[in-house]
């Protein structure tokens, strides 16, 4: 890696850290579990590094095999992580439907 690329990478890192701080500190505690599972799924982007290792030009067989395991675990995180996050967020989304019956009950009680 030449110094110019390194400096650019450090810029990207620092800006992402700053942006991450700004964005994530606005997430309410209500959603902290989905947040953790979502960022987990997002960091499953190491899948693309794993894909390169598993099949790109210039890597020997042992690297392909390590890459295969890495692709598997990263894919588990991506598919599982997004799947579970969606399942959780769906539960938080159903406020209106959930609130109606209890409001109706209240009417009935009166």
């Amino acid at each position: 890696m030449n110094p110019a690329v390194l400096i650019a990478s450090v810029y990207v890192f620092a800006l992402a850290a700053f942006l991450g701080y700004q964005v994530i500190s606005r997430v309410p505690p209500l959603l902290h579990t989905p947040l953790m599972s979502a960022t987990n799924a997002i960091s499953g982007i190491s899948l693309i590094g794993s894909i390169v290792l598993a099949g790109a030009k210039g890597y020997p067989l042992p690297a392909h095999i390590l890459g295969f395991v890495a692709v598997t675990t990263a894919t588990i995180n991506v598919v599982g992580g997004f799947g579970i996050t969606d399942r959780m967020l769906k539960m938080f989304g159903k406020r209106k439907e959930a609130a109606k019956p209890s409001a109706a009950n209240k009417e009935a009680a009166k």
Binding site: V5, L6, S9, V12, F13, G20, Y21, V23, S25, R26, V27, P28, P29, L30, L31, T33, P34, L35, M36, S37, N40, I42, S43, G44, I45, L47, I48, G49, S50, I51, A54, G55, A56, Y59, P60, L66, G67, F68, A70, V71, T73, A74, T75, I76, N77, V78, V79, G80, G81, I84, D86, M88, K90, M91, F92, G93, R95, N105, A108, A109
Partner: protein, 460 residues
């Protein structure tokens, strides 16, 4: 650069933007789900871009990995119950970190000799963080699942031993960095990192898991970011850093919620300290209340606040709790739920459990929001929570949990504590709340107590 490479880079840029947008949309439950679709789109684009632009020559390993991973991932996504979310998340930290570590090892096997000093440094970080997070997260998952005893494992000289292992790991890293041709140094760094991960997590008790989970989250993210540095790949740096910082912010929040420092969590061994300091006696008698009296109190209250702790989840009483809540609401009682930040085994866990039981999120209140409301609350119902409502944290500077922010239920007009028995509960700490004149105890399994309460309320 060829056209396909430009295409690949473009998908990475798109993915980075979509990831950031998706996290921004996480700031509200109404938009969060839509945001996740964006992130999924970004991920899909980046994968397609890589397959097109990365000069793939061997497809079999990629396709096999994607297939196996998708099947396991989809199975996990559908089948994991919400109560098991902490274990699932710990496991996924392990998977993410393992992927990072493996990519690092692969780079080392293939390109160790062509690497410059900077890349080598990043590679060392990637592999170290990846390896220690893998084993650490597996131990955490094991503890949460109950496969490994949740009690802190401690022995004399533990911190010294850990320090030695840590030092050994770091010095192997430095040696490898200076002499890249010494394969032994690289592999001993890897091996020591695996051991170090185990050693870091075994002394930590289950109650401290929210902090550990967040820290491991942070490490897993940073490992992915280091991978980005090794591969010179910006989307990896961005996604990894976002993950790393999210974990870091959550660890700080969790530590604040327990009034402890990160070093104290990692090296303090909470459970062991209490055995000595927990002798302080609040004294007095606990008054028991009958089901019918409790139901009467609830039915004629104006404002009721439920305070759920992890005991609610272990008793699987979320649904029973929501049913009682709805019943009270139908009688015109205002019902709110007070959620302490560490109520559960990971950040935000209790919110998810209650949301699953159909409690509308508008009824869930954070500690800062609900505390001023306790003085005007008629009945606070504490269900399987203990330390987070312990007034000693506020009043007794000598208490081991002194300074920890609590839900101030003792300011409510009356308190009903649902508890299994008269024992001291999870942390072994005496709780003066139970002896206050405004407090009454309802013993028994939380789930059956709550459903019996609901029946009794119907007959009032």
């Amino acid at each position: 650069m060829s056209l396909t490479s430009y295409f690949m880079e473009a998908t990475y840029l798109v993915a980075s933007i979509l990831f950031i947008l998706s996290l921004k949309m996480m700031s509200h439950p109404e938009t969060a789900r839509k945001g996740m679709f964006l992130a999924e789109g970004g991920m899909f684009a980046a994968v397609i871009g890589t397959l097109v632009g990365a000069h793939i020559v061997t497809w079999v390993w990629i396709i096999a990995g994607l297939t196996v991973g998708s099947i396991i991932g989809a199975w996990m996504a559908v089948s994991v119950p919400m109560t098991a979310m902490p274990q699932r998340t710990a496991l996924s930290h392990a998977f993410g970190a393992l992927a990072a570590a493996l990519v690092g090892i692969g780079e080392f096997v293939t390109k160790a000799n062509e690497m410059g000093a900077i890349t080598r440094g990043a590679l060392g970080f990637e592999v170290m963080l990846g390896a220690l997070t893998t084993t650490g997260s597996l131990i955490a998952a094991g503890k949460l699942q109950g496969v490994i005893a949740g009690k802190p494992v401690q022995f004399r000289g533990q911190n010294v031993l850990n320090l030695l292992i840590g030092l050994g790991m770091v010095s192997s890293f430095v040696f490898f960095w200076i002499h890249p041709e010494t394969v032994v140094a690289f592999y001993s760094m890897l091996a020591l990192a695996f051991v170090f991960g185990v050693m870091l997590v075994i002394p930590i008790g289950s109650a401290d898991m929210p902090v550990v989970m967040s820290l491991l989250n942070s490490y897993a993210g940073l490992a992915a970011a280091a991978t980005g540095f090794v591969l010179g790949n910006n989307v990896l740096i961005i996604a990894g850093t976002l993950d790393g910082f999210s974990g870091f912010i959550l660890s700080v929040l969790m530590c604040k919620a327990m009034n402890r420092s990160i070093t104290n969590v990692l090296f303090g061994g909470f459970g062991a300290v209490i055995a000595e300091a927990g002798a302080g006696n609040a004294g007095g008698v606990m008054r028991e209340i009958s089901l019918d009296d409790a139901a009467m109190q609830l039915a004629f209250a104006n404002r009721v606040v439920f305070v759920p702790g992890y005991g609610l989840a272990t008793a699987q009483a979320q649904h029973a709790c929501r049913e009682l809540g709805e019943l009270l609401e139908s009688r015109g009682v205002t019902v709110k739920y007070a959620i302490h930040p560490v109520a559960g085994r990971m950040p935000g866990h209790m919110n998810v459990l209650l949301a699953e039981a159909n409690v509308p999120y508008s009824s869930l209140y954070e500690m800062e929001q609900i505390n001023p409301e306790f003085p005007s609350t008629d009945v606070a119902v504490v269900i399987g929570a203990n330390d987070v409502v312990n007034p000693d944290a506020r009043d007794n500077p000598k208490s081991i949990i002194a300074g920890m922010p609590i839900l101030e239920v003792d300011r409510a007009r009356s308190v009903i504590v649902l508890k299994r028995g008269q024992g001291r509960g999870f942390s072994g700490l005496e709780n003066p709340l139970f002896f206050k004149p405004c407090t009454t105890m309802l013993y028994g399994d939380a789930k059956s107590s709550l459903s019996h309460l609901a029946q009794a309320v119907q007959h009032v």
